[in-house]
């Protein structure tokens, strides 16, 4: 990891990072920019998953909920490739997260949290299918195809899986269409920033180099893009904001 350097030298000198911090090797820093005051903080970036896991290991049970919300959909899709039964998918996903929580004291961070969680999900699904006397070997290939299209492939099947209803499929389509429409309506800067981040998986540093703007600006653009999309998405999320969360 290389230290960040100021971008767009003539544009916004107030957002440049201090040279003495930038010169320290191996330190990844972020420029946190307040949109109104252009205030800048410089602190090391942390591995968010690792930080949340550490908090759970120290007894902060609520921090684990953030990881659940973050990975719930990916884990459910993985399990859905194996069992093809929506009712079972949610149960197995719940069991996966409970098992992960129980095993968390033994998690030493030798692999990424999601890699570790992925293995737990696969083992939990296999065990569930053995209990149901279904053949887990057949679904391994389905799981492999799920991995292949991990980066943005779209499901093209028309038939409903067990437990799926036309309403749930319609709701899912509406969510996808709303997100896509919201992205299309974004300004070029915001759309480019969130696309580079979410689809290309670039870091803020890489995006700032690509867009030739400070890291704080990248952070702000991505946040504003998310807020614009979320504003259009919230009516579809089946609950008023904060009602049940």
């Amino acid at each position: 990891m290389t230290p960040r350097e100021p971008h767009d030298p003539g544009a916004d000198d107030s957002r440049k990072l201090p040279d003495q911090i930038l010169s320290a090797p191996g330190i990844r820093v972020a420029a946190v920019t307040d949109a109104a005051e252009h205030k800048e903080l410089v602190e090391p970036i942390v591995d968010v998953d690792a930080a949340l896991v550490e908090r759970v290991q120290r007894g902060d049970q609520k921090a684990f909920e953030m990881l659940v919300v973050k990975y719930q959909r990916r884990i459910e899709r993985l399990i859905a490739r194996m069992v093809r039964d929506v009712d079972l998918v949610e149960d197995i996903a719940q069991e996966t997260f409970i098992r992960a929580y129980r095993a968390l004291p033994n998690f030493r961070g030798e692999s990424a949290f999601y890699t570790w969680l992925y293995r737990i999900a696969v083992n939990t699904a296999k065990k569930a299918m053995i209990g149901l006397k279904r053949d887990p070997v057949l679904t391994e290939s389905a799981m492999a195809s799920a991995d292949d299209e991990e980066e943005g492939g779209s499901r093209v099947e028309n038939e409903l899986s067990d437990g799926e209803t036309p309403e749930s499929v319609l709701a899912s389509r509406q969510i996808a269409e709303t997100v896509n429409a919201a992205i299309e309506s974004l300004s070029e800067d915001l759309r480019q920033a969130i696309t580079l981040r979410e689809i290309e998986g670039m870091s803020y540093e890489e995006i700032s180099e690509l867009m030739n703007c400070p890291i704080g600006t990248v952070r702000s653009r991505i946040f504003r893009a998310r807020e614009a999309i979320a504003t259009r998405l919230r009516p579809l999320l089946d609950t008023r904001q904060g009602e049940r969360w």
Partner: protein, 233 residues
Amino acid sequence: MSDRFSDRDAEREALSALADGEAQSQEVARACAAWRDHADARANWHAYQLIGDVMRSEDLAQASSGEAFLKNFRERLAQEPVVLAPSAAQAQRAVQEQAARQQLKPLKRRTWAGPVGVAAGFVLVVGAMLSSQILPTGPQGGDATLAQSGAVRGGALSLANTGQWSASGFVPDGAHAATLTLGGASFQQPGEVVLIRNPQLDQALALQRANQSGDVSFEGQGALTRQVVFDGR
């Protein structure tokens, strides 16, 4: 969005950065606190994650409702004990480290065992060699003569500077003084006997080396060979 950046906006921006894995340690702590205390922070976290997932793959929009999933999960999680309290985790870590140290200690103690074992083996071999030379036959003529012979007491062995073997304290019973003749010189050493290799051995070894090269035979070397007679033949 208004131009004025409120605290709530700053909190949501930090949450957005957290979703990207680009947050600082203080922001992680603040986000966890917001997650505990503010329902809208939880809803925002869910919305941000959902947006990212749907952008990457529309399949992920088909996952079950986030808040329903979390509600069910919370009910199950409530039945689970807290993973580890900090003190318990530290205590367990300390116990594990102590156990690991205990396992390593015997290995450390054995570090001297190797050299000592080699030395002990060396002493045994030397002792065996000397015993085989001295005890069955004793000194045989030549330059070294033991004044007395008898039962042998054990003692320490050492290699003399001359390159010859000497036995300090390796004294036959009753032999408080031994007369030695080495290279024509006599030594009177009370309580100590210097054992000298039989000179015939050197002669025999020289003949053996010559024999190995193939130009000398043992014929005519009667002085060095022993005739053995079986059943009068």
